[in-house]
């Protein structure tokens, strides 16, 4: 086997086994490649017009092609993980004791315009409500959303002697009420009428809650109509009656009730006769 290159004799003198010698021979027998005829011309043009191609300033760009997507992925992923970590599901947090804002505002006391010694106080439960952790979870969630449950007051008061009532309930400020008023608003539907100012009601509005449509005339409220099935009708109040007092207190035109009232008796004038009517809740 002959070698075309000049070092063939040296290669032949190497200590090679037959396989290595054959490989060297096969490579040495490859035909030599010549440069193209216009090589010099193209080279001169290249030297004249350009600098070495590795002088390109973008040698670092291949690295950026990998680093930038990776960095972007880390930033986005980190942001998502951060938000996921901060957004703890409220329902997954065990509720030990939670204080709910009272659903009726604080007690307000206003002096009565007339000489009555009583103070009209619209009261409602001003009791911080404690959520027992033993309540069903759905109920707790509803309460967290601001919904109120009137029935909860009774439940809590019923369990107030147990450990389910927290310290805030025990230390809640006591409401001092004048005689004749209690903390429970009296209304037919157990609701308080909304008159723009949710805490103050005129006498006419209060009367309407027990089913009386009345207009103030002279000293009393002239009953125009009585709703069917209302407290007023059940108690015997009739259209044409003039309501002058409740529980012995004159029912003037400017009478303002705050929150609610707890009247037991109503004095009406019917056919020029004073009649005492007991309200039948």
């Amino acid at each position: 086997m002959s070698y075309k290159n000049d070092n063939s004799r040296e290669i032949e003198n190497e200590i090679l086994n037959s396989d290595e010698r054959k490989i060297a021979g096969m490579l040495g027998n490859l035909r030599r490649i010549e440069a193209p005829k216009d090589f010099d011309y193209r080279l001169k043009a290249r030297i004249a017009n350009a600098k070495p191609s590795n002088d390109r300033p973008a040698a670092f760009l291949p690295v950026l092609r990998y680093v930038m997507p990776l960095g972007l992925f880390l930033v986005v992923g980190g942001a998502l993980m951060w938000n996921g970590g901060m957004n703890i599901d409220n329902d997954s947090v065990p509720v030990v004791a939670e204080t709910v804002q009272p659903f009726v505002g604080p007690v307000e006391a206003r002096p009565v315009p007339n000489n009555s010694s009583s103070v009209e106080v619209g009261t409602a439960a001003v009791v911080p409500q404690t959520v027992d952790s033993s309540q069903p979870r759905i109920e707790q969630a509803e309460m967290r959303k601001g919904k109120t449950f009137p029935g909860k007051i009774e439940r809590i008061s019923a369990t107030s002697g147990t450990s389910s009532v927290d310290l805030a309930l025990k230390q809640a400020p006591k409401t001092i009420l004048p005689p004749g008023f209690n903390s429970e608003p009296v209304s037919v539907n157990n609701t308080v009428p909304d008159s723009g100012n949710p805490r103050q009601f005129t006498a006419g509005e209060v009367l309407s809650t027990i089913g009386i449509e009345a207009k103030f005339e002279n000293k009393g409220w002239k009953v125009g109509s009585v709703s069917k099935g209302s407290l007023a009708e059940v108690s015997g109040i009739q259209a044409g009656d003039s309501i002058e007092a409740m529980d012995g207190e004159a029912l003037g035109d400017k009478k303002i009730y705050t929150g609610g009232f707890n009247a037991k008796k109503v004095r009406v004038v019917r056919d020029s006769k004073d009649i005492e009517i007991n309200l039948k809740p």
Binding site: E10, L27, R31
Partner: protein, 210 residues
């Protein structure tokens, strides 16, 4: 220009050409440093085919080999002031060509990965300039038709660069172990073992011919 002056100029060029062909590589480099363009042309004439052949065997791509060969001479030209005569010019120019070829192999790998992913292909480096196709027949065309030569070329192409460089320099370019060690900047023992290992790898790839 008068005719006699032209004739005088021609004879001057001929004298220069003849004399430069007798100069050593180092002398040509020195002449090039002094502004003798003909000296650099002589360097190009001496090494253009060996370098092109070396790069062609390394890359198995003739156009790429010619392009990198020209790039090698451009590098030599621009860095000629920094060239030292401590070692042979052939070692110097083969080292430049080797580095360019290895860089090209790495670029090919990156291009392959990127073409597979299809992402982030906007780099200007990947935008190839338009070049008209070379319609000339390849000098190696008849060889490429030879099945054995094609298989050998493919086998060489699959070798890792650290084995491909020394085996081509040794068995195709006929360089001595010392020259190869200098070109690759390796010890002599490492160079020999790599050449031996490269032959072993080629033997496995070309076992059908054994």
């Amino acid at each position: 220009m008068p005719l006699d002056k032209i004739e005088t100029g021609r004879s001057e060029v001929l004298r220069t050409s003849v004399s430069e062909k007798k100069l050593s590589d180092h002398a040509l480099i020195e002449a090039t440093k002094n502004g003798d363009e003909a000296a650099f042309a002589e360097i190009v004439a001496r090494y253009r085919s060996p370098i092109t052949n070396y790069l062609y065997r390394f890359l198995n791509d003739y156009e790429e080999a010619v392009d990198l060969s020209q790039e090698t001479f451009v590098r030599v030209y621009y860095a000629i002031e920094r060239y030292h005569t401590d070692y042979a010019f052939s070692t110097y120019i083969y080292r430049i060509a080797t580095n360019l070829a290895i860089s090209e192999i790495r670029k090919r790998k990156r291009r392959t990965i990127l073409s597979l992913t299809g992402l982030f292909q906007t780099d200007a480096e990947d935008v190839t300039e338009f070049q008209p196709p070379d319609t000339r027949s390849l000098p190696d065309e008849d060889l490429l038709e030879d099945e054995q030569a094609g298989v050998i070329a493919k086998a060489i192409e699959t070798l890792p660069p650290k084995y491909r460089v020394p085996i081509i320099l040794r068995d195709i370019e006929g360089k001595t172990y010392e020259e190869i060690a200098e070109i690759m900047e390796l010890g002599l023992g490492t160079t020999k073992s790599r050449i031996s290992r490269a032959r072993g790898l080629l033997k496995e790839k070309l076992k059908h011919y054994f």
